[in-house]
């Protein structure tokens, strides 16, 4: 009797067309439903925010890559400046040996040293020279055969740093030639 009355009241109040089949809809949410619903929403938000944070963090290393790229370019300029001052600066350096480059403020020039120090406690910049052989007829640089050219050296400037627990490296490979012959 009470149920019938209540159904009638609800049906009137909400102007339902078919009151009996919609009774359950009018009952509202149960505690379990609210809990599950809000948990799903919260967990979805947590996942989205975590993903967004992860994506943002991906860009963090790019400043270091720019810094390393500039340091490598500077390494090439440093070697050119050493050659411009005197080919002896390059000529005396051993092949396949790791050298560091440092700016000597009192002499105002770049110098190569076997003591490799960190730049800003972050980057290690090294340079390795390699001997060059040229073909006798064409004078082209060849990987095997030919005769040694003591007026040309190959070199690789590498800048490495720690990023997310791994070592990242940027390298520039080039040749340096005794163009001023001095």
């Amino acid at each position: 009797m009470f149920l019938k009355k209540q159904l009638k009241f609800r049906s009137k109040k909400h102007d339902m067309t078919s009151c009996t089949s919609h009774t359950n809809l009018n009952r509202g949410f149960s505690l379990a439903e609210i809990l599950i619903g809000s948990s799903i929403i919260c967990l979805s938000l947590i996942l989205i925010i975590n993903l967004e944070t992860g994506i943002s963090k991906l860009g963090f290393g790019s400043t270091q890559r720019v810094q390393a790229g500039m340091l490598a370019e500077e390494g090439v300029t440093a070697i050119n400046s050493m050659r411009n001052a005197s080919w002896q600066n390059i000529g005396v350096l051993s092949n396949n040996t790791l050298y560091g480059l440092y700016w000597n403020q009192s002499n105002k020039n770049w110098q190569a040293t076997t003591t490799i120090s960190l730049v800003d406690n972050k980057f290690t910049r090294t340079v390795v020279f390699t001997p060059i052989n040229r073909d006798i007829a064409s004078f082209n640089i060849v990987d095997s055969g030919g005769v040694p050219d003591t007026d040309t050296r190959g070199y690789v400037v590498s800048v490495s740093w720690q990023e997310n627990g791994a070592t990242s490296t940027r390298s520039l490979t080039s040749y340096i030639h005794n163009i001023y012959n001095k």
Binding site: S38, L45, I49, S56, F60, V66, Q67, S81, N84, W110
Partner: protein
């Protein structure tokens, strides 16, 4: 039947309410701390991008000028100073000279051409705190070394400061 309905409408039990509030508190706390950490990450990543863009902008200007310049105007250049400036002279085919000055003023890097202000090279939302030039020139070539420090001007835990180095030889 009547009794059953009454029970259904009696609301949540204390235990149910406590469990619900506890779970929601944990979830909301996690959510809020994540939002906080995400906003910090966003701010740091934005600052990092601005610093990087400023550095690349300044270096691009140096590379552009160095490609055309043949001499350093020593009189208007300030070497070995944290608020340094460099003045480069380029000659065109007709012998006309263009002087380009790149300098640090109020934590921003600016460019002047023939003593006329052209514009800033660094972004306004970062601070360039150091722009030092070192004279690399010898009797046979002209060149300079640049040391630049850029920070995001924030004094909180989101503070970022990065150094950029490069050297240039004039043609």
């Amino acid at each position: 039947m009547n009794k059953n309905m009454n029970n259904k409408q009696s609301g949540f039990s204390l235990m149910e309410t406590v469990i619900y509030i506890s779970l929601m508190t944990v979830l909301l706390f996690t959510l809020l701390s994540l939002i906080d950490s995400a906003s910090r990450t966003y701010l740091i990543s934005k600052s990092s991008r601005d610093i990087e863009r400023s550095a690349v902008g300044v270096v691009a200007a140096f590379e552009n000028q160095v490609n055309s310049a043949s001499a350093i105007d020593i009189v208007n250049t300030k070497f070995d100073n944290a608020t340094g400036s460099i003045s480069l002279i380029a000659y065109d085919g007709a012998g006309h000279s263009t002087t380009t000055k790149i300098y640090l003023l109020n934590n921003q890097v600016f460019l002047d051409q023939n003593n006329i202000y052209v514009g800033p090279l660094s972004l306004s939302d970062v601070r360039v705190t150091n722009l030092t030039f070192r004279n690399m020139s010898t009797s046979t070539f002209n060149g300079f070394k640049v040391e630049m420090t850029i920070d995001n001007g924030t004094s909180s835990d989101q503070y970022l400061s990065e150094n950029f180095y490069n050297s240039y030889i004039l043609r």
